[in-house]
Amino acid sequence: MSIADSTATVERRGTSSPLYKIFKGLIAGLFSITLTMVGLLFVTFIIARVMPVDPVLAVVGDRASQEIYEAAYKAMGLDQPLYVQFLLFLKQVAMGDFGMSTLTARPVIEDVARVFPATLELATLATIAGVGLGVPMGVLAAVNEGRWPDQLIRLVGLFGYSMPIFWFGLMGLLIFYGILGWVGGPGRIDIYYEDIVPVVSGMILIDSLLAGEIEIFWNAVSHIILPASILGYYSIAYISRMTRSFMLEQFSQEYITTARVKGVSEASVIWRHALPNVMIPLITVIALSYATLLEGSVLTEIIFSWPGLGNYITNALLSADMNAVMGGTVVVGAIFVGLNLFSDFMYKVVDPRAR
C-alpha cells in the first residue's frame, strides 16, 4: 500500500467514526427541522395575510375612527412590507418570543401553555384507547378475514369513519349527559369547581390528584370520558383498519407459510412472527394519529367547550391574530417533528435491523 493510499484510508476512517456520524446526523436533523419550521411559518404567514379578515378591525372594532384605526395599524407593524414583517417575526421567534396575542392580551407562549395541556390530556386518553383496542381488533379481523368478526370490526370501523364527529358529540352529550346523566357536561369540570385546583401541569386529572382533590378528580374524569371516547373511537377505527391491512400483508409472506409448515402454533405465528413485523408501519400510523389529535379537534372542542389548542388556533386564525396563529403553528409543527423523531427512535427499539 502506498503512502497516499494509507492516508486516504485514515481519512475515510476519520469521516466514518461514530462521533462524526452522530454529529453529521445531528446537523442534518437540525437543518431539516429548521427548514421545516421556517417553511411552515412562511406558508402560515402568507395564508393569514391573504385571509379576508382585517386584523386591525378585529382589535379596534368597526366603530373606531380613522385615526385610531391607523394608530393600531402602525402599532401592529402592518405598515411594514410583508417580508420585513416576516423577518421581524422570525427574529423574535428565534429569541423564544412569539409576541402578544391581540385576542387575549397575553403572551402567546402563556396562552399555548394554558390550552395545550387540555388537548394533550384528551388526545393521550383517546390514543391509549385507540391503541389498546384498535390493535387487537385489527389483529382479530385479519386472523378472521372474511368471517363475521372481521365483518363486524370493519363495520364498526366504517361507521366511525363515516359519521361526522359533531353528530357523535351532540348525540353523546344528549344520551350520556342529558338523558342518562352518566357523564359530566361540556367543559373540563363542573363550573363551580373552577379555580380551586392550583395549576401545575395544566392537566386537570393530574393537578387534581396532586392537590389531593379526589372529588374534583372524579368530576374531571366524568367530563373527559365522553370526548375522549369519541375521539378514541375515531382512533380505534383508523388503527384497527391499518393493523388489519398490515397483518394481512404479513400473512401472505413466505416466512409465515414456512412457520406454519414447520408446525409453529397459530398464536405464535400471529403474536411472535407477524405482529412484530407490522410494528414499524404501525408505529408511524399511531404517531400520526396521535399528532393529529394533538393538533386539537376543533369540532369536539367546540361541542364539549374544551379549551384546547385546536379551538385556540381556529379562533386566532378567524380573528387574524397573527402572533397566536404562528405560535400555535410552531407548536403543531414541533409536535409532528417530535413524533417523527420518536417514531424513528421506536423503529430502532422494535427492529434490530434499523439500528
Binding site: 385610531i68 357536561g185 363542573d190 367547550s305 378567524l318
Partner: protein, 537 residues
C-alpha cells in the same frame, strides 16, 4: 367564527333526535350552589378587561359589575335614566359647560383605598390619554390630551369638575358618563402598574381595579371568567358570592347544561332551543328589548336609489311581519325608528308594512315601472342572509331584481365604509345610552363629500345628506330641557322615516333562559350591560 357556527347549525340539523330531549331529560339535575351564579355565555369577543379600552358586549357585561361610575343606571328601573352614583350630586354652571360633581363619601375600592375625586380625575383623563376605541364617547365634549389638565380636574378630595367645549344638553353629558368607558378606576393601584406611560393599560387589560359589587378572580380567554363578591357593596346586598361565566359556543350544549341544572342562566339559545324549553316548568325565558337595530340602506350615489319615490317604495317592499313571524321569531321585533324602544325620545310608530301594489305605483311614479337591477351586500351571517333573501323575494315581486353578494366582515364593511355599494343589509347598536348616539350616526351628516370620510356615520356611508335633520339633531343635543329634547328626537325620527334612504326594520330581543328560581337578572335592556349583583335565587 361564522364558519364554526354554520358547521354547528348543520350539526344541529343533523341531530334529528334533539327535539325529543326536552321531554326526556331528567329534570332533577344537580343544582348549582345557592350563593353562586353560573352563566353559559359566548365570551370569545372579550379581548381586554380595561374599562377604558373595551367595547365588546361580554367585556362591558363584566365591567358593569366590577366598576362604578359617577352617574349610574338603576337595574330595577332602567327607564328612569341616570341617577347619582359615585357622585352623590352635581351642579351645572349657568353657561351649561361646567359640571361639578360632589363625590359620595366612604366608598372603598377593592384594594381598600378610598374613592376620591382624584380617582375620577385620573380615570376620565385616562380615557382621553389612552385614546382607545370607546374614547369618542367622552372626546366628543372637546376633551383633548392638551386641555385635559384644565377641563378634567379634581378641585379637592371630594369635588370633581369637567368643562365641555360648548354647551350640551346635561342629559346628553350625564348619559355618556353612565357608559362603561367612564368607569372610575383605583388610580393608586393602576398608577403603580404603569409601564412607559401606558396608563397601566398593559396591566389592566387582564386585571381589575374597581369599586363595584365584584372583583375579578380569574379570566381564562375563550374559556371562562369568575368574579368574587366584595362585602358591603354600597348599592345593596349582593346575594351571589361568586359569579362564573363560561364560554359555551354551542346553543345545544348551553341548553343541555341549563336543563341539567349545571348553569343558572343560558344567554345564547337558538330560537329552536328556546321553543323546546318553554314547556319545562323548571326553566323560564325572559325577553328584554336590546339596543341593536337591523336595517337596510340605499346608497344615494345610485341614480335609481336616490329617487325619493324609489326609497319610499322599497320601504313598502319589506315583509316586516313575515320575517318576525318566521325565522326571526322571538329574536327580533318590528321597529322602524332610529332610536331603539326604551330610549329617551323613542318612537313606536310603524308606518310601513308590506304592500306590493303601493310599491309598484310608487316605482311607476318614479319612472321605474319595469323595475331595475340592484346588488345587496351582506355579511355572511345566517340571520342577515335570510333577511336579504326575504327582501330579494319581495323586491322581486315589484320588479326590482336583486343579486346578493355575501362576504366576510372585512369585505362587506370595507365596501360599505368606502361607499362602494348599492344596498346594504346590516345591524347597528347604540354606543352609549343617549339618543344622540343613533341620531348622530343615522340622521347627522355635516359633510357629505367623499373626502370628508365620516366613516363612523351611517348617513355618510349611504351618501345621505340629511340636511334638515343634521340641524335638528345638532340642536337637540344642546337642549337643556329633557322633555323638549325627547320631543325633538321624536320629530327627527318622523322626518327620518319619511325621507331617509335607510329603512330601520327590527330591534333585537334578548331571550335569557334561566332556572325558574333565578330572579333579578337584568341583561341591561337597550341602554346598558348585564347586572349580576341584584340576582337572587
Amino acid at each position: 367564527m361564522q364558519f364554526k357556527r354554520s358547521l354547528l347549525s348543520l350539526a344541529l340539523a343533523a341531530s334529528v333526535a334533539m327535539p325529543i330531549s326536552g321531554t326526556i331529560i331528567s329534570e332533577a339535575g344537580a343544582a348549582t350552589p345557592p350563593n353562586m351564579l353560573i352563566i353559559a355565555d359566548r365570551i370569545d369577543d372579550l379581548i381586554s378587561l380595561d374599562p377604558q379600552e373595551m367595547f365588546e358586549i361580554s367585556g362591558t357585561d363584566m365591567a358593569n359589575n366590577i366598576y362604578d361610575r359617577l352617574v349610574e343606571l338603576n337595574p330595577a328601573d332602567l327607564s328612569k335614566g341616570y341617577e347619582p352614583g359615585l357622585a352623590e350630586s352635581w351642579e351645572i354652571s349657568e353657561d351649561g359647560k361646567t359640571f361639578t360633581f360632589k363625590m359620595r363619601e366612604g366608598i372603598k375600592f377593592h384594594s381598600g383605598n378610598t374613592v376620591t375625586a382624584k380617582d375620577a380625575e385620573y380615570s376620565i383623563r385616562r380615557v382621553i390619554g389612552l385614546n382607545k376605541t370607546p374614547s369618542f364617547i367622552l372626546t366628543q365634549f372637546g376633551f383633548t390630551p392638551e386641555n385635559m389638565s384644565e377641563t378634567i380636574k379634581a378641585i379637592d378630595e371630594n369635588t370633581f369638575q369637567i368643562t365641555t367645549d360648548k354647551k350640551y344638553a346635561p342629559s346628553f353629558v350625564l348619559n355618556c358618563f353612565t357608559s362603561v368607558v367612564a368607569s372610575i378606576v383605583d388610580s393608586e393601584v393602576v398608577k403603580s402598574n404603569e409601564v412607559d406611560g401606558d396608563w397601566g393599560n398593559g396591566w389592566l387589560k387582564t386585571s381589575s381595579a374597581g369599586s363595584g359589587a365584584f372583583k375579578l378572580q380569574n379570566w381564562k380567554p375563550n374559556e371562562s371568567y369568575s368574579l368574587t363578591a366584595v362585602p358591603g357593596y354600597w348599592r345593596g346586598d349582593v346575594a351571589m358570592k361568586r359569579v362564573i361565566v363560561r364560554h359555551v359556543l354551542e346553543s345545544a350544549s348551553q341548553r343541555l347544561m341549563l336543563e341539567k341544572g349545571d348553569v343558572d342562566i343560558a344567554r345564547h339559545l337558538s330560537p329552536e332551543d328556546v321553543a323546546s324549553i318553554s314547556t319545562n316548568e323548571d326553566l323560564k325565558v325572559e325577553d328584554t328589548l336590546r339596543g341593536r337595530l337591523m336595517y337596510v340602506s340605499f346608497n344615494q350615489k345610485d341614480k335609481a336609489l336616490s329617487h325619493p319615490k324609489v326609497t319610499e317604495a322599497l320601504k313598502y317592499l319589506v315583509d316586516y311581519k313575515g320575517m318576525t313571524g318566521s325565522f326571526l321569531q322571538g329574536q327580533w321585533t318590528i321597529q322602524q325608528a332610529f332610536l331603539p324602544q326604551t330610549f329617551m325620545g323613542e318612537l313606536k310608530d310603524t308606518p310601513y308594512a308590506l304592500n306590493i301594489e303601493k310599491a309598484k305605483a310608487l316605482l311607476d311614479e318614479a319612472g321605474y315601472s319595469d323595475g331595475f337591477d340592484v346588488e345587496f351586500i351582506v355579511r355572511n351571517s345566517t340571520e342577515r342572509v335570510e333577511i336579504a333573501q326575504s327582501l330579494q323575494n319581495t323586491f322581486g315581486q315589484a320588479g326590482v331584481r336583486v343579486s346578493i353578494t355575501q362576504g366576510t366582515g372585512k369585505q362587506i364593511l370595507g365596501r360599505y365604509r368606502a361607499r362602494d355599494f348599492q344596498v346594504y343589509v346590516g345591524e347597528w347598536g347604540p354606543d352609549y345610552p343617549d339618543p344622540h348616539t343613533n341620531a348622530d350616526t343615522f340622521a347627522n351628516n355635516p359633510d357629505n363629500r367623499d373626502e370628508a370620510k365620516l366613516i363612523g356615520k351611517v348617513a355618510w356611508r349611504n351618501s345621505y345628506a340629511a340636511k334638515d335633520l343634521t340641524t335638528l339633531t345638532d340642536l337637540a343635543v344642546q337642549e337643556s330641557d329633557r322633555e323638549k329634547r325627547a320631543r325633538m328626537y321624536v320629530q327627527a325620527q318622523k322626518t327620518f322615516q319619511k325621507e331617509a334612504p335607510i329603512a330601520i326594520m327590527f330591534q333585537k330581543v334578548d331571550q335569557s333562559s334561566m332556572r325558574a328560581n333565578v330572579t333579578g337578572f337584568n341583561p341591561g335592556g337597550a341602554i346598558a350591560s348585564a347586572f349580576y349583583w341584584p340576582v337572587k335565587k
